[in-house]
């Protein structure tokens, strides 16, 4: 990947269509550092697509300016500018009369690359998006929706542009494949570090994909420009609050990992240890049951009263330590694991499998600043989990 990412700046950009009473985009100012994903999100008719399409001049800017690496996009011929900007749209717009290879080669050929280089690039990109080189000579009609979308992304990446524009790129894909394509794309982006303007109407997708999110309201006015976490924690006004949804606290779970929150302190014990020491540790801990671990500190299960009754700890387990959570788990997934095993606690381990703490429903609630009694279904769970 030779070309570096470019920074992008909207400077007081206004778009007014001829004959319209209102601006479609109104005094939009945004700065996007190189290598980040900026998601433009908002209800339909908020001008998000218009704003995006002014970047590669598919739509003319009425007043104001858009700077790509400090240089106005209006300085260059539109066609030349566009060859330097990757472009992915919801309907993909693959050319049905051209093979996959020819589709991907569109911009490199416009730029006059030699045959050898184009061919190598096609193989490289097919590999990158996880399609075999036997796909080269297929036609778009022979691919599945997800494959077509991947080819669309590969085609946009073909000439290694420093900026990518993506207009609802996963909007036409079914939810299961969309999730997969989003994850794939994030992995790709972690490697490529392109600057990306991403348009969507789906706030969940925005939170998942964006390094920064610009929420637009009707009339193309910027309501808030912030990181996903900031947007969820401090919505700027009732419109944004309403748009991110009443479940914004829950949405934040998708942004945090288990390691990001304060874990509970569990009392660990090993077989053969003195019970008095364990009881002392238990007094300090946030949890009234000791967790039995093996020699490497890996969780074996919750110790029963009988296990503590003698002088030394005996291996007597009241319940298995499930689920075992990972420090790198996304909080939302960890919560889901807890709920689905109908338990209130789970040991958290690091990459080696060593216990580093305990995740509880209350710990999650604390992290979200929700009153503990609001923790979902904890009441129903309590009885079941404790009598296990």
């Amino acid at each position: 990947m030779s070309t570096d990412a470019a920074s992008l700046e909207f400077r007081d950009v206004v778009k007014r269509y001829p004959g319209a009473d209102e601006n479609a985009v109104d005094e939009l100012s945004l700065e996007l550092p190189a290598g980040e994903i900026c998601v433009l999100v908002g209800p339909s008719g908020c001008g998000k697509t218009t704003a995006m399409r002014m970047v590669n001049r598919m739509i003319d800017i009425t007043t104001g300016d858009i700077l790509l690496d400090g240089r106005s996009v209006t300085e260059r011929k539109a066609a030349d500018l566009r060859r330097d900007i990757g472009y992915v749209i919801q309907q993909i717009g693959l050319f049905p009369h051209r093979t996959i290879a020819d589709n991907i080669a569109t911009v490199p050929r416009l730029l006059g690359w030699d045959k050898q280089r184009v061919s190598e690039r096609i193989d490289e990109l097919l590999d990158l998006i996880g399609l075999g080189s036997e796909m080269r000579d297929r036609y778009p009609a022979q691919l599945s929706g997800g494959q077509r979308q991947r080819v669309g992304v590969a085609r946009a990446l073909a000439a290694d542009p420093p900026l990518m524009l993506m207009d609802e790129p996963f909007g036409a894909i079914d939810p299961i494949n969309r999730e997969r394509l989003q994850n794939e794309f994030l992995r790709l982006q972690a490697e490529l570090r392109k600057t990306i303007v991403f348009v969507t109407h789906d706030i969940d997708e925005a939170i998942k994909m964006g390094d920064r999110i610009a929420v637009l309201r009707k009339g193309g006015r910027l309501a808030q420009y912030a990181s996903p976490a900031e947007l969820l924690m401090f919505p700027a006004d009732p419109f944004v609050e309403d748009f991110v949804g009443a479940d914004r606290a829950l949405k934040r779970l998708a942004l945090q990992r288990v390691r990001d929150i304060e874990l509970w302190n569990g009392a660990l014990c090993r077989v053969g240890e003195e019970t008095s020491a364990v009881r002392a540790r238990l007094a300090e801990a946030d949890l009234e049951f000791p967790l039995l671990v093996d020699g490497q500190g890996r969780p074996k299960g919750w110790l029963s009263e009988r296990g503590l009754s003698g002088e030394r700890v005996r291996e007597d387990i009241r319940s298995r330590a499930e689920p075992v959570l990972d420090l790198d788990d996304i909080l939302r997934d960890a919560l889901s694991d807890l709920l689905s095993t109908e338990t209130m606690y789970g040991p958290v381990v690091d990459a080696e499998g060593t216990v580093r703490g305990v995740l509880s429903l209350r710990a999650i609630a604390n992290a979200l600043n929700i009153a503990p009694e609001e923790v979902p279904s904890s009441a129903e769970l309590a009885s079941g989990a404790l009598t296990q």
């Binding site: 066609a79 749209i89 717009g93 693959l94 009609a141 691919l143």
Partner: protein, 243 residues
């Protein structure tokens, strides 16, 4: 030209009547039947009219396609021209061919030129309309993606829109070709030859009408297959089996 009153009488003695050797054929011709023997014997006389016909059709369709194709591109760029051009070509198409051949006579004289001008005029509506429809039916997302990747409008037109409109454009060409084969049988009114002149020369002799008319149908079918073959050769993506 044949005068209508001739039909009231017994058929004329056909050409070749006196050279007929087989007595069965002789009586067949005398009775104005459908005579395979006579046809085999006299097939040679259809060769020249057939190729004249092919010439008229090929030249007219080629010129007609070139003009309508350019008009189609023009109308695609200048949308407002579409209405007037459809109106004009539709009016041309509506004028009966015989009338058009005759109306052109004082201007361009008798002969192939007049016939070809009229035949070209008839191809315009079909090819032009299919071209405009074809270009209009190209999915907007492909055109948008092309522009977004930095193809100039001309590149977009020639590399994306025209190839994607080819099925409809060639469908127009097929219709135009078979229509022109039929219309060219009336080109003798403009003083051009072809199978029509051959029919007209012995319009009351069954064998002649069947052979000359049949050859026109065969020619139309052959041209249809030719364009169909072209279509398959030019559009490999249409053969690709969907996933």
């Amino acid at each position: 030209m044949i005068v209508a009153s001739l039909f009231a009488q017994a058929p004329q003695v056909p050409e070749g009547f006196f050279t007929q050797r087989d007595p069965d054929d002789l009586s067949c011709v005398a009775e104005n039947g459908f005579c395979p023997g006579w046809i085999v014997e006299n097939f040679e006389r259809y060769v020249d009219p057939f190729f004249e016909h092919v010439y008229l059709v090929a030249v007219s369709v080629a010129i007609g396609f070139a003009i309508a194709f350019c008009l189609g591109l023009l109308a695609h760029r200048q949308r407002w021209l579409t209405g007037p051009l459809i109106g004009a070509t539709a009016a041309l198409y509506t004028i009966p061919s015989i009338a058009l051949f005759l109306l052109l006579l004082p201007i361009t004289g008798r002969g192939n030129t007049t016939a070809i001008i009229a035949l070209v005029a008839y191809t315009q509506l079909i090819i032009f309309r299919n071209m405009v429809n074809g270009l209009r039916n190209v999915p907007a997302d492909a055109v948008d993606a092309a522009a977004g990747m930095g193809l100039t409008p001309t590149q977009t037109l020639l590399r994306v829109e025209v190839p994607m409109a080819l099925p409809e454009i060639l469908a127009g060409l097929r219709i135009a070709a078979s229509t022109t084969v039929g219309l060219a049988t009336l080109a003798f009114f403009a003083g051009a030859g072809g199978l029509g002149a051959q029919i007209d020369a012995q319009i009351n002799f069954k064998s002649n009408v069947v052979v000359a008319g049949g050859l026109a149908v065969v020619l139309a079918a052959a041209l249809d297959l030719l364009v169909l073959g072209m279509q398959r050769a030019l559009m490999p993506w249409r053969r690709a089996a969907p996933a």
